[in-house]
Amino acid sequence: MIRYILRRILFLIPVIVGVAFCVFTLLYFTPGDPARMILGDMATEEAIQNFREAEGLNSPFFVQFGNYIYRAVTKGDIGRSYMTKRPVMNEIMQAFPATLKLSFFAILISIVIGIPCGILSAIKQYSIFDTVIMILAMVGLSMPVFWLGLLMIILFSVHLGWLPSSGFDTFSAMILPSLALAAQSISMVTRMTRSSMLEVVNADYIRTARSKGQKESVVILRHALYNALIPVVTLCGLQFGQLLSGAILTESIFAIPGVGRIMVEAIKTRDFPMVQGGVLAIAIVFSVVNLAVDVLYAFIDPRIKAQYK
């Protein structure tokens, strides 16, 4: 088990280097001189050339890439933002907690609401419950997050005045953005739980448990749910990774200073180091989340645990 985890962590390295290379190459060949774009209209030609020299922008491609990897590995220095002149590491570390909080709450809401709804839908299949939940799930899935967000702001902030319309400092400010972002996830988790449960609930071992005289709630929650959880856990893991990768629209509507927003700004202004740093951070997080999900399988499904022994 430990060996498996260590091996997976080792595999992260070529993934990260590969991602860094792809991003680096794309940014390198995209037209637009970062020196000119960052220094703006009031810089002199001399100042622009000095900037290019100082940042090593005139060196050949592989030299630039090599320097980048070397500094990242030895000093944890993944460059300085061209715009703010501060280390990229600091900028991302500062923005990450907000995105993390937002994604975490969104996933929590998805699980807390989605799984029970899915179970309910499955055991009361074709009932009024099922139909209503499925319709709501369809609506949640199809609503664009920015529209849902704006609607919620107008209702809860402007007309009712219950909740603040932007920012992320207080608990009350976190409610609307998390709900808006979670809308799609809730729907997907509900539907996935429902279909997974339906498959399981008609299995032989469930019939055995019932005929044993087991209480219905134990049959559903212990026997059926456990077996139905694997696809749901996969989905939640992927969803979490996706939410972490930027939640850009939600962050824009609700003015949340997270990774998605700083990435958009960095791309617009050709802030190379920032874009690279941001993509690397997202790649690492995604890989780690996937690893965690894989490890979690082992605890849920004894068959998989046996494989790793």
Partner: protein, 498 residues
Amino acid sequence: MKRLFFAVLLIPMLIFAACGMAVAKDTLVVADQYDATTMDPIAHNDVPSSRACFSIYDTLIFIDGAGKTHPMLATSWEFLSDTEYKMNLRKGVKFHNGEEMKASDVKYSIERATTDAGAQIRTYSQNVKEVKVVNDYAVIIVLKEPDYSFFSSLSHCWASILNEKATKALGDNYGMNPVGTGPFKFVSWQKGNKYTLERFDGYWGEKVKFKTLEVRSIPEPTSRTIELESGGADIAFPIVTNEIKRVEGNSKLTLVRKPQTSITYMGFNMTKAPFTDVRIRRAIFDAIDVVAVQKAVWRGVGSVPTSLVPSSVKYSIAAEVPAHKRNVENAKKLLAEAGVKNLKINIWSNERKERVDMATIIQAQLQEVGITSEIRVLEWGAYLNGLQAKQHDVFLLGWVSTVPDPNFAVSGLLESTAGSNHTGTADTKLDGFLNKGRKTPDGPEREKVYKDMQLYINELLPMIYLHSDESIAGMQKNVKGADIRSNEIHSFRGVYFE
């Protein structure tokens, strides 16, 4: 059971919400579009950072909305010669860290702006040769070449006076921990979210009438307006065209509009035939109804400038030049005279919706005189690259004069040595005007130079002026004393709550 659970959950949520909404009225909350990038006055040239700097720092002089110069950290000044300005400094000015402002701080601040750290504002500082300290309260700024527009630029953020000791001590971290002499002192900054300033009780001038200034960045225009409507923000800007009616129609809010010192223009590539021929340029100008184009795209916001020097900057002739009238007959006649048939041109623009819309209408109007045009929309980086390589025929771009001096409105665009001269203008007579204007002190002689220059530019026609924007801000009715300015460096120094 479930219902009780939810009810219990709801109560603390409502309490939190209530706490969040009740803000003491000793705090001014401003919703800006973007966050500042740095609080170091020479490390940026963007407007949100300049606004932050105007609250935290003072400059030697201050130029008001009417173009009049006022003493600030300098109480008086003398022009010892064309290249030497003696500035007498105010005594007893305290920095936020308790130190007193001395001539050494002024020398340090201005000379620092000439180093690589000030690359973004080098155009303003490049003419500084040195700053001589006369005594603790007087300096002489020595320039390399005579340039009276430099004096006006001393009111710009780049010339903010820093505390030498604090700046040197903080080094690279200075941008996040500013120390100035301004009426607000720095408290905290959550990057990308908001920064908080507090009244500086040791300020040399009139103290601010409220305790805390909180500036939040909300990039979405609709979210900003909603924040204003819900009372979460006291002032919000910019208010975009679509939101104007909402703010105007709201009885709890006021809308403030000021003409901006900016211009959107369509420039010709004067290095490429046939645009080398002024008749072609004139023909294209006559074929376009600029007033109608501006009205259609901007729907009542801004106006069409008639001179490159904005109307709110001194010596502008914008008020005296009549609005352009479309003249299709003359356009056709000029094209025929120049011997050009079936002209095909490309119009370059970046992705900004308004510019693309203007280009589309212009394309249709040009078609009527037999000129076929293709619109090429490019992403910003690619756009700048292409303009530098002079690959375009005609292009749409903008320019802002943050310092209200006619030199800055023109030289960056049309001087033969300028970096942003995408029209490729290299006219010795125009360069001569610009040179003379810089070397002449303010007065009737300088006024004549710039008036002649503006008329000459209109004759030379390197560009067609399309639009001059407005600074539009919305605020709660009880907020008074906010100075919404034409150069977008809005001031909250005089704000009070009614």
